[in-house]
Every structure is written in structure tokens, then in C-alpha cells.
């Protein structure tokens, strides 16, 4: 074993996990703020430690933006009573939040968030089967939710769990098939290689727009976001699978949901929007200097954040799908569409070669 590799991997893991957690906290804030603005409200604009108010000009502006709200939220989750209802199946009840969080964090391991910084590749694990690993891990995500629904031993979480299992399994198929044309075109499963291909030939959503569309919709379903938030539909199921959870365990479900969003956004950027590349300023090939490397990480983050904003924005556009409509859309529209898409892409590539 190479010590250099171990040390740098640990450092990268620590930084990535830290950044993702921070982004989750601020994604919640962004969600609340953007929701508020779309609904003609103000959103969180109070919480702040006492000294911030005294910073002239900047302080009040920061408070009005609610930048300290995530700190207050986090503290609240930590200090709240961790209540375990009487009827729950204890072991599963404790296991479920962990099972929800772990896959969502693991997915991020294979995503190249930059090209090079010095001699280090800016990806935690540069797997040759990158995308297969991702789909393998993402499909585990459903267990946390199903287990939470089962462990709570009450009807609303149970319904949430059932809905979630059906929904995630059906959309995973469409999602998995939607990206096959991408690999046909790029000719590689390694995500870094796919980004390299996009740097040379242009972004993949131009080559496979239908794939992108299916992937986008399926990732909304996979992350349980509106209009596919049936597993936690407040108006129907109280809180869905996390009804019986409180305090830090509830926070873990939240963390899982938002890190799933981040992972999906990162996947979309990597597969369809060129990852850390930009077609100008020489950003389309791996960085040679430190500054370029940092700039490429920034490019990746900006692309990812715009997808996060899209996730949040779409939430206020559509009403929730009915359960049968959801299944109809998944099985009878997207699965055939994805199959046709594979076929057409393959034929076109065959004709060209």
C-alpha cells in the first residue's frame, strides 16, 4: 500500500464530506429562501448570533439573507429530544437513518469534481466501472426508506415506504437505460474518461438530449422530490416514512435526501454537462497549473448548484403526481422511450462507423 495514496485519499474524503454536509445545510436554506420568494414571502431572516448585528451594513444584510439559519437548525436537531415511539421495531428503527445516509454519501466518491490539483486527481475513487458503481449504490438508497417505513410500525410511514420502494425501483430502470446511449457515444464507463471525451467533443446533452430528459425526470423521482414526492407527501401521509422520527435521526433523513440531490446534480453535470470542463478559456482539458485546477472545481460547483436550484425551483411548478400516473409515466412512457433511444443511438453510431 502506498502511504501517499492513503493520506491524500483521506484528505480528499474529509474535504468532500465536509463540503457536501455544508452544502446540504445551505441547500435547505436555499430551498426555504427560494420557496419563499416564489410564494411572495420573505423566508428565514432572523436567526443570527448576537455579534453579527453589530457589523455595520454587512451584518444586517447577512441576517436578512438568513445565512445563520442553518446553524440554528443544526443546533436544534442536535439538542432536540430523540424520541423513540413505543411501538417501533427498535433495531430497524435505529438502522434505517444510517442506511439512508450511507448510500447517498457513497455515490459522491466516484464523481470527478475537478481535473488535477498538483499531481492529485480530483476524484476520490477513479473507478473504471464508475457508473455501474453509482447505480449499484443508488439502488441501495431505497432500503433506508423502506426500512424506516417498516420499522415505524404505523400506517403512514408504512404507506410511504411502500410507495417509495415501488417508485424508486421503477424509475431506476428508466434511469439506468437512459444513460446507455451516453456510454455508447463516449465509449467508456469511467466518469473521468467521459468528461475527457466531453472536453474534446462537446457536452453530451447535445448528443443525447432524450437521455438527459429521462435522466432528469428519473433523478427527480429517485430523490423523492416534487412532483414525485409520494413517499413523504405531507398532505396525504403526514410525513411519510419519517413520520415517527425526531431529532438527529430525522436530520439524517434530511441529510440523505439533500445529499441525494447533490449526488444527482453532480451525476447530471458529469454525464451531460461536461463535468469540470468549459468549452472556452482552455478549461476543456485537464489543468496544468494550480489556479486552473481550482477554477475547474469552481466550474463544477457552479454547474452543480444551478442544478440544485432547478431541483428546488421545479418543486413549486407542479402538483404531485397521482400514484398510478407516476407508474404510468415510469413504465409506459420512459422505459419504452429509453429503449427506443438506445436503439436509435446504436443504429446511428453503426451507420457512422
Amino acid at each position: 500500500m502506498d502511504w501517499n495514496f492513503i493520506i491524500f485519499s483521506v484528505v480528499k474524503i474529509a474535504i468532500v464530506v465536509g463540503v457536501v454536509q455544508g452544502m446540504v445545510a445551505y441547500a435547505v436554506l436555499a430551498e426555504r429562501k427560494i420557496s419563499a420568494w416564489i410564494q411572495d414571502r420573505v423566508g428565514p431572516n432572523r436567526a443570527a448570533p448576537p455579534f453579527v448585528e453589530r457589523i455595520p451594513a454587512l451584518g444586517p444584510a447577512l441576517i436578512r439573507l438568513g445565512l445563520f439559519q442553518p446553524l440554528a437548525d443544526g443546533l436544534k436537531f442536535l439538542l432536540k429530544e430523540d424520541f423513540t415511539p413505543a411501538g417501533v421495531r427498535k433495531a430497524y428503527f435505529w438502522l434505517a437513518p444510517a442506511l439512508a445516509v450511507i448510500p447517498s454519501m457513497l455515490v459522491i466518491a466516484v464523481i470527478p469534481f475537478g481535473s488535477h490539483l498538483g499531481h492529485q486527481k480530483m476524484v476520490i475513487a477513479d473507478l473504471n466501472v464508475g457508473i455501474l458503481y453509482t447505480f449499484g449504490i443508488v439502488s441501495l438508497g431505497v432500503y433506508g426508506i423502506v426500512l424506516a417505513g417498516y420499522a415505524a410500525n404505523s400506517k403512514y410511514p408504512f404507506l410511504g415506504g411502500i410507495r417509495s420502494s415501488a417508485q424508486m425501483i421503477s424509475y431506476e430502470i428508466a434511469m439506468g437505460m437512459s444513460v446507455i446511449p451516453v456510454f455508447l457515444i463516449a465509449g467508456d464507463l469511467n466518469l473521468s474518461q467521459i468528461i475527457g471525451w466531453q472536453g474534446r467533443h462537446g457536452w453530451l446533452f447535445l448528443y443525447a438530449p432524450v437521455s438527459f430528459l429521462i435522466f432528469l425526470v428519473a433523478s427527480f423521482a429517485e430523490t423523492n422530490r416534487l412532483p414525485f414526492d409520494l413517499p413523504e407527501a405531507e398532505t396525504e401521509l403526514v410525513g411519510g416514512y419519517h413520520t415517527e422520527y425526531s431529532s438527529m435521526k430525522f436530520a439524517l433523513f434530511f441529510l440523505a435526501e439533500y445529499s441525494n440531490m447533490i449526488a444527482s446534480a453532480a451525476m447530471m453535470v458529469t454525464l451531460f454537462f461536461g463535468g469540470w470542463t468549459l468549452p472556452f478559456w482552455g478549461l476543456d482539458h485537464p489543468a496544468t497549473s494550480l489556479g486552473m485546477g481550482l477554477l475547474q472545481i469552481l466550474v463544477f460547483l457552479v454547474k452543480m448548484l444551478s442544478f440544485m436550484v432547478l431541483f428546488i425551483w421545479v418543486r413549486w411548478m407542479f402538483p404531485r403526481f397521482r400514484y398510478d400516473q407516476l407508474m404510468d409515466l415510469g413504465w409506459r412512457r420512459f422505459v419504452p422511450l429509453a429503449l427506443v433511444n438506445i436503439l436509435v443511438t446504436a443504429v446511428v453510431l453503426w451507420m457512422k462507423s
Binding site: A36, W37, I38, R41, F318
Partner: protein, 185 residues
């Protein structure tokens, strides 16, 4: 009434017009509240809404324009109070006199438990002296139950003066006038 439900056209079934419409509406509201400042939220403690003139807030004791306590400790309000929020301690036969001429007595202690008070206004209605009024306060807060029991001093301070009729002053003047009335036999 029979509503004809037309089957959706292919164009509508693609959800695309709905998506475009959704983007349009949400974007309009987003930019309006972000840059136009057109939010419906009121920053409550800093901004407050205008109360209607007949608003019934918390009941407070008032003084007349000479600074005298108007309450004469008749205990009618205590009697009428539906949630029994008012507690009056009358001075008794040996207690101190009223702080103004021609009034028999004034309360030794007058307490309103604001946690019980329902702001119904019966006390104001029943008071023969016009000594208690429902003013405009509505956000009463305290750190303990004890703090929410307002005593006479606090109620008088919060109530302020009420420049209205001074019943007993006029009675005094009437009595004097009757005494001084020139009667010739």
C-alpha cells in the same frame, strides 16, 4: 351541470406547455419578490398593522385628567368577569381613603390575571365609573405566570389618563351649588 372533459391532446400530454407555464409563473413571482420587493410578509415586531378603532385589547385601569384613580372598588367588574381574571381587594372599613374628594374608597389592590383574561370587555361595559378600558395592547408577554398577573400600579401605569367625564367632580360641584343655593325664607 355536466362538464365535458375533453381528452388531452398529444401536445398537452407531453406536459411541455404545463412545464413552460410553470416556469413562467414561478419565475415572475421569484423576480418580483426578489427585486421588486413585493412580498406579502410583514416584518411583525418592527412593523405593526393598524388596529381598527373599536379594537378590544387588554383591560387597563385609567386615571382622570387630574391624576386621580377612577376606580372606587365597587367590585362589579370582578363579579361580571367570565373567566374570573379580576381580583379586587377593597380597603375595608379601616383602610385608607380615596385619593380624591367626594369618593368613598378606592381599591387597596386590583389584579388582572392576563393569562385568564379573554378581552371580552364586560368589565368596561359594567364599570359605573368608567375606570377600566380595553386598550389596544394585544401582545402581552412574560417570563412567568406571576409576571402575567398585573397589579394596580402596573394597570394604572399602562392605562394612562382618560380625559372623559369626571363623574364625582361634577357631583361635588353639584353638591356645593346646592349648599350655596340662596334660599330666602
Amino acid at each position: 351541470m355536466i362538464v365535458n372533459r375533453k381528452p388531452l391532446t398529444i401536445w398537452e400530454r407531453l406536459y411541455l406547455p404545463a412545464i413552460a407555464g410553470g416556469f413562467k409563473v414561478t419565475a415572475r413571482h421569484l423576480f418580483r419578490s426578489l427585486f421588486g420587493g413585493k412580498t406579502v410578509t410583514m416584518d411583525y415586531p418592527e412593523q405593526k398593522w393598524a388596529l381598527p378603532p373599536d379594537y378590544r385589547g387588554a383591560p387597563y385601569l385609567v386615571r382622570d385628567q387630574d391624576g386621580n384613580t377612577k376606580c372606587v372598588s365597587c367590585q362589579l367588574c370582578e363579579f361580571v368577569c367570565p373567566p374570573k381574571a379580576i381580583k379586587i381587594t377593597p380597603p375595608g372599613p379601616t383602610g385608607p381613603m380615596a385619593d380624591r374628594p367626594n369618593a368613598e374608597k378606592m381599591p387597596l389592590e386590583f389584579e388582572i390575571n392576563m393569562l385568564r383574561c379573554i378581552f371580552c370587555g364586560y368589565c368596561q361595559e359594567v364599570c359605573p365609573e368608567e375606570a377600566i378600558f380595553l386598550l389596544k395592547d394585544y401582545s402581552l408577554t412574560g417570563q412567568s405566570r406571576q409576571e402575567m398577573v398585573y397589579n394596580k400600579e402596573k394597570l394604572l401605569a399602562l392605562g394612562g389618563t382618560h380625559p372623559g367625564i369626571q363623574k364625582w367632580k361634577h357631583k361635588l360641584e353639584e353638591a356645593k351649588a346646592q349648599q350655596d343655593f340662596p334660599v330666602k325664607i
